[in-house]
C-alpha cells in the first residue's frame, strides 16, 4: 500500500503509480441529538469512532456490520456528502476533508454511488433517461442520448426504458437503473450501499453478478457495504467488519470468513442463516449469547 500524501495541496493531480483509490484516516463523526434537558446538552452520538483503512485501485472492498453501526455515515463521508468530525479522507491521493463543494468536482467525476432502496433512489417524477443522464448533464458531457442508451443496454434494460418512469419497473430493474446512472460519468470508484438488501433473493444474484461483471470489465474500485456477510463474500476481495462505529477486523474475505479473529465477526458469521442451522433450531437468542460488546 502506498504512503499517504500528507496534504492535498502538495498533490493536486493524482499521482501516477500505486496511489490508493480511497484512504481513510482516523475518521470520527459525532451527531448531536436534540436537547432533552434544560441544564445540559444531550451527549453526542458517536456514529464513527476512529475508522482507518486503505483501498488500493481496483480492489473490491467490503464493509459489513449490522444496521446502525455507522456504515452509511462512512459512505457519505467517503463520497464527500458529509463531513467527518475529525480525521481525513483522500480519494486518489487527494484529501477531500474540508474542501468546499466546488473543489469536490473530481470526486463527483470519479466516485459514484448505488443506493439501497430502489424506491427512494430514483426521482419518481423523472423519466429513466433523465435519471441516468443526470450526472452527464451535471458534468457537461456531450452525446448524452447515445450514452444513456448504451448504459441501459449494458445493465440489461432496453433503450426504450429511457422514456418510462421509475414506478413502471420492478425493484431489480430499478437497481439496474441506479447502476446505469452510477456508471454514466465513467467513474473509477463505485460505492454501493446495500445495493441488493431490498431485493428478492431471486433477483439478488442477478444484480450482484451485474455489479461484479461491470466492476471487472471496467476495472473499477468497488466499495460494497452490506449487513450480509454472504453477499460480501460473493463479491469482495477484502472485507472490513464494522461494529459500533469502529472497524474490528480487516482481511481478505476468505480469511475473515474462515478464521474470524474478533468475537463480533464470529457472531456475524454464525448469524448467516444456513439450512443446517435452521433445521437444528438455533434461535436468535443463542446467537446473542455468543458475544456481547
Amino acid at each position: 500500500m502506498a504512503e499517504q500524501p500528507t496534504s492535498a495541496t502538495l498533490a493536486p493531480e493524482p499521482r501516477t503509480g500505486p496511489v490508493d483509490a480511497i484512504s481513510v484516516r482516523d475518521v470520527t463523526r459525532d451527531y448531536r441529538r436534540p436537547r432533552t434537558s434544560l441544564r445540559r446538552p444531550s451527549p453526542p452520538v458517536h456514529a464513527l469512532r476512529g475508522v482507518s483503512f486503505d483501498i488500493p485501485q481496483g480492489q473490491r472492498f467490503g464493509i459489513v456490520g449490522e444496521s446502525g453501526c455507522g456504515k452509511s455515515t462512512l459512505l457519505r463521508i467517503l463520497a464527500g456528502l458529509d463531513r467527518p468530525t475529525s480525521g481525513s479522507v483522500a480519494i486518489d491521493g487527494r484529501d477531500i476533508t474540508g474542501l468546499p463543494e466546488r473543489q469536490l468536482k473530481f470526486v463527483r467525476e470519479r466516485l459514484q454511488l448505488v443506493f439501497q432502496d430502489p424506491m427512494s433512489a430514483l426521482d419518481p417524477r423523472m423519466r429513466v433517461g433523465d435519471i441516468v443522464a443526470e450526472p452527464l448533464v451535471a458534468q457537461g458531457h456531450p452525446n448524452r442520448t447515445e450514452r444513456v442508451a448504451e448504459l441501459l443496454e449494458a445493465v440489461g434494460l432496453g433503450a426504450d426504458a429511457a422514456q418510462r418512469y421509475p414506478h413502471q419497473f420492478s425493484g431489480g430493474q430499478r437497481q439496474r437503473i441506479s447502476i446505469a446512472r452510477a456508471l454514466a460519468p465513467r467513474p473509477k470508484i463505485i460505492v454501493a450501499d446495500e445495493p441488493v438488501s431490498a431485493l428478492d433473493v431471486s433477483v439478488r444474484a442477478q444484480v450482484l453478478n451485474l455489479i461484479a461483471d461491470l466492476v471487472d470489465e471496467l476495472s473499477l474500485t468497488l466499495v460494497f457495504v452490506s449487513h450480509d456477510l454472504s453477499v460480501v463474500r460473493h463479491v469482495c476481495d477484502r472485507v472490513a467488519v464494522m461494529h459500533d462505529g469502529q472497524i474490528v477486523e480487516t482481511g481478505p474475505t476468505e480469511q475473515v470468513y474462515e478464521e474470524p479473529r474478533h468475537p463480533y465477526t464470529r457472531r456475524l458469521i454464525a448469524a448467516v442463516p444456513t439450512l443446517g442451522k435452521a433445521l437444528s433450531g438455533v434461535s436468535a437468542a443463542d446467537l446473542n449469547r455468543e458475544y456481547r460488546p
Binding site: S120, L151, G156, E217
Partner: protein, 304 residues
C-alpha cells in the same frame, strides 16, 4: 473510450441472460389509475361551474348588472328576473354572474401572491442549514399569528380600499401556509436517496431545488392553492361586506350580502343568493383540495 465501450459490450452480453427474466416483470402500460375520489369529482364540477359562470359573464348577462331601474325594485324571481331584483332594481342573477368574476380574480391573485412567495420561501427554508430554516419559520409564525382580516384592513387604510389591495393583502397573509407546508415537503425530499445521488452527480443546490424538490412538492402546492382559493374567496366576501373590498358599482358577492342586510325582513332572498353562491364556491374549492390531496398523497399510493 473504446476499452470502456468494449467492456460495456461484454457486460451487456452477460446481462442479456437475465434480460428475459427481467422483461417479464415489466408492468404493461402505465400504472393502473386509482379510482377518482368523490370529493374531487364534486369539487371539480363546482369549480368548473364557477369558471363557466365567469366566462359567460363576459359575453352574456340577462340584464346589465349595474343598471339601476326604480320601476322594477325588489321584484320577486320571475322568467324576466330569474333571481329577482334588489332595492335599486338591478337584476340579481346578472350580479351573481358578474360577481363570480371578482371572486375568481381575487382567488387567483391572492393564491398567486401567496404561492409565488411562499413556495420559494418554503424550499429555501427546507434546503438551508437547519438554524436558518428555523429562523425563517419563526418569522413565518409571526405573520401567521397576525389575523389576516386585520392585516387587510390595515392595508386598505394605508393604500385605500380596493379589490387589488384586498387581494394582495390576503395573499400576503396566506404566504405562511404555503411556506410551512412546502418546507415540510422539501425536508422530506431532501432526505431521499435521489437527492443524495444528485449531489454525488455534481448537481448544485439550485438544480436540485428546480429539478427534484419543486416537481416533488408540486402536488402539495396544488392542494394548498385549492384550499387557499377557498380562504381567499371567503376573505374577499368578508372584506366587501365590511366595505374594505370591492368598491361599487363592480358586483361582488360580499357586497351584495351587505346591501341585502337592511332588506332582510322584506326580501330575505337577496341575502340567500349571494350567500349560497359564496358557500357553494368555498365548498367546491375545499372539496377539490381534499380530493387532490387524496389523489396525490403518496402514503395512499398502494391502498387499493
Amino acid at each position: 473510450m473504446s476499452a470502456v465501450d468494449k467492456a460495456l459490450d461484454k457486460a451487456q452480453d452477460n446481462a442479456q441472460d437475465t434480460k428475459a427474466a427481467v422483461a417479464s416483470a415489466v408492468p404493461e402500460g402505465r400504472r393502473r389509475r386509482r379510482p377518482m375520489p368523490g370529493s374531487l369529482l364534486v369539487g371539480g364540477l363546482i369549480v368548473s361551474l364557477v369558471f363557466g359562470m365567469a366566462l359567460l359573464s363576459f359575453v352574456w348577462t340577462p340584464h346589465d348588472p349595474t343598471l339601476v331601474d326604480a320601476s322594477v325594485r325588489l321584484q320577486k324571481p320571475s322568467p324576466e328576473y330569474w333571481f329577482g331584483t334588489d332595492k335599486f332594481g338591478r337584476d340579481v342573477f346578472s350580479q351573481i354572474l358578474m360577481g363570480s368574476r371578482t371572486t375568481l380574480f381575487v382567488g387567483f391573485v391572492a393564491v398567486g401572491v401567496a404561492a409565488l412567495i411562499g413556495v420559494p420561501l418554503g424550499i429555501v427554508a427546507g434546503m438551508a442549514p437547519h438554524w436558518f430554516g428555523e429562523l425563517l419559520m419563526r418569522g413565518n409564525d409571526l405573520v401567521l399569528a397576525f389575523p389576516a382580516l386585520l392585516l387587510t384592513i390595515m392595508f386598505s387604510a394605508v393604500y385605500g380600499a380596493g379589490t387589488l389591495v384586498a387581494m394582495i393583502a390576503i395573499g400576503i397573509a396566506s404566504i405562511p401556509h404555503f411556506a410551512r407546508l412546502i418546507r415540510g415537503g422539501t425536508l422530506q425530499v431532501m432526505k431521499t436517496e435521489y437527492v443524495l445521488a444528485a449531489r454525488a452527480a455534481g448537481r448544485g443546490p439550485f438544480s436540485i431545488a428546480l429539478r427534484h424538490v419543486l416537481p416533488n412538492v408540486s402536488s402539495l402546492v396544488i392542494v394548498q392553492a385549492s384550499v387557499g382559493f377557498a380562504i381567499a374567496v371567503l376573505a374577499e366576501a368578508a372584506l366587501s361586506f365590511l366595505g374594505f373590498g370591492t368598491p361599487p358599482p363592480t358586483p361582488s358577492w360580499g357586497r351584495m350580502l351587505q346591501e341585502s342586510q337592511e332588506m332582510l325582513s322584506i326580501a330575505p332572498r337577496l341575502a340567500v343568493f349571494p350567500g349560497v353562491a359564496i358557500a357553494v364556491v368555498v365548498l367546491g374549492f375545499n372539496l377539490l383540495g381534499d380530493g387532490l390531496r387524496d389523489r396525490f398523497d403518496p402514503k395512499l399510493e398502494d391502498r387499493r
